[in-house]
Symmetry: C2
Subunit: 256 residues, 2 copies
């Protein structure tokens, strides 16, 4: 049976993250300040943006030289060709491009706009234009935070790195999992009978994505003020898995 | 600023829903039994399945006569042609069909598998095969529940009817909003500066979808035991809107 209660609490007053910052230390201090004591089974959701920043995935745009292809694609998509150059450097293949649109398959397998390359909140106060790339390996980022926090606080927790994605056919972004550690990305309900004893049909839920979406309600997009949210009350029986379990190969896309 | 805390509580021990049941009455009784007192700003998330049942959207399969087209499509998709007949009756157009796959644009605009026609949990205990269709108008279902509960309990709440959808490119289903009343389906953060004063870029979030996904973590798919979840702590400034605000016309799909 699922739990009957969930609690989500944002860690308040986290400092602005800079390259090289120790996110585990920051989380521990923030938890203490917020009066939150982690218990085993808690899941910490952390925004991609601060993971990328801490890992130094920041590029100064002036240092990027766009290729002929990036110049051309920049014209087609109305995007800064230096940004396009960065996007292509993170891209396995282009799914769709057009005016103001550049949907790609990210090198990690995510189908997303602009390969997750983002210009907001990256320290424009010094007049230098920068862009932020996704973490090199978000599962590893999640695992590193999970093991550091679990060891320091003597608990067994899960970690989800989340991001906001657009969707086919629906407007608005939703929080999705970019990296997962210490919990199953998918929950498989197949074979369990429903209330009337009939086997369930649609029965694999994207557990980590639903957790990411729930936490996103507290984070506020683009707002770095609340990039860490603790989710308490989840339960699972499945073994932990990384985010790859959530990715449907482009070739198997059932929707087109 | 977003709230810093969210609480989700499932209403326990709801009876199995039958056609004609009064869901507002059922919710009020369940809330009382669970010791939950609704306050203004709470959002009740209710599973599509019980809304459809209460509204009598149940069809006995033996009473369905498949057309030649449904027979043909049933062979192509390995589906019962009577089910296919029902699916087509709810369908504006077919997006993709193939072995075990039938993705359509539902008459309400949702792009989804099988037009939401479902065979699980519809009372097979008498040996009669039945299928369940989506509510005729999920926004109206949400609004009717919202106004009945708000009036009876003297509060101002929101209601989301949720369902589990598959996604393009990602595996597993997630809770999404099928009907919305008393809250904005989308939250628009455009124009608000980020922490460094730079205007936000990706900034329209699918508020009702994230609420639907969060509640889905407590419901457990296919499990009718927890089809009502109260979400407390959300905040919004935008005017209320129906689910249509979340639908991207097929023609405008940016992902293909």
């Amino acid at each position: 049976m699922s739990p009957s209660k969930l609690e989500l609490v944002a860690i308040d007053d986290l400092p602005i993250v800079k390259p090289g910052d120790d996110l585990a230390r920051m989380a521990i201090d923030g938890l203490e300040r917020s009066g939150i004591r982690l218990v085993s089974g808690d899941v910490l959701v952390i925004a991609q943006k601060i993971v990328s920043k801490a890992e130094g995935r920041i590029v100064v745009l002036a240092e990027v030289t766009p290729s002929a292809r990036s110049l051309q694609l920049g014209r087609e998509t109305n995007k800064d060709p230096r940004l396009v150059e960065l996007i292509l450097s993170e891209t396995k293949r282009i799914v769709r491009s057009g005016p103001d649109v550049l949907i790609v398959e990210h090198r990690l397998g995510f189908v997303m706009a602009n390969a997750g390359v983002d210009q907001s909140n990256v320290g424009a106060q010094d007049g230098i234009e920068r862009a932020l790339l996704l973490p090199l390996d978000p599962d590893a980022s999640a695992e590193s935070l999970r093991s550091a926090l679990s060891a320091a606080l003597d608990v067994d927790i899960g970690v989800v790195v989340n991001d906001s994605f657009g969707r086919a056919w629906r407007l608005g972004t939703v929080g999705i999992a970019l990296g997962v550690a210490g919990l199953p990305a998918l929950k498989d309900l197949r074979g369990r009978p429903d209330l009337l004893g009939r086997p369930l049909r649609v029965s694999i839920s994207a557990f980590a994505d639903e957790i990411a979406a729930a936490a996103s309600l507290l984070m506020g997009q683009g707002d770095e003020g609340r990039p860490m949210v603790v989710v308490r009350g989840l339960a699972w029986h499945e073994p932990a898995s990384g985010v790859r379990a959530l990715l449907r190969p482009l070739e198997e896309d059932l929707f087109r």
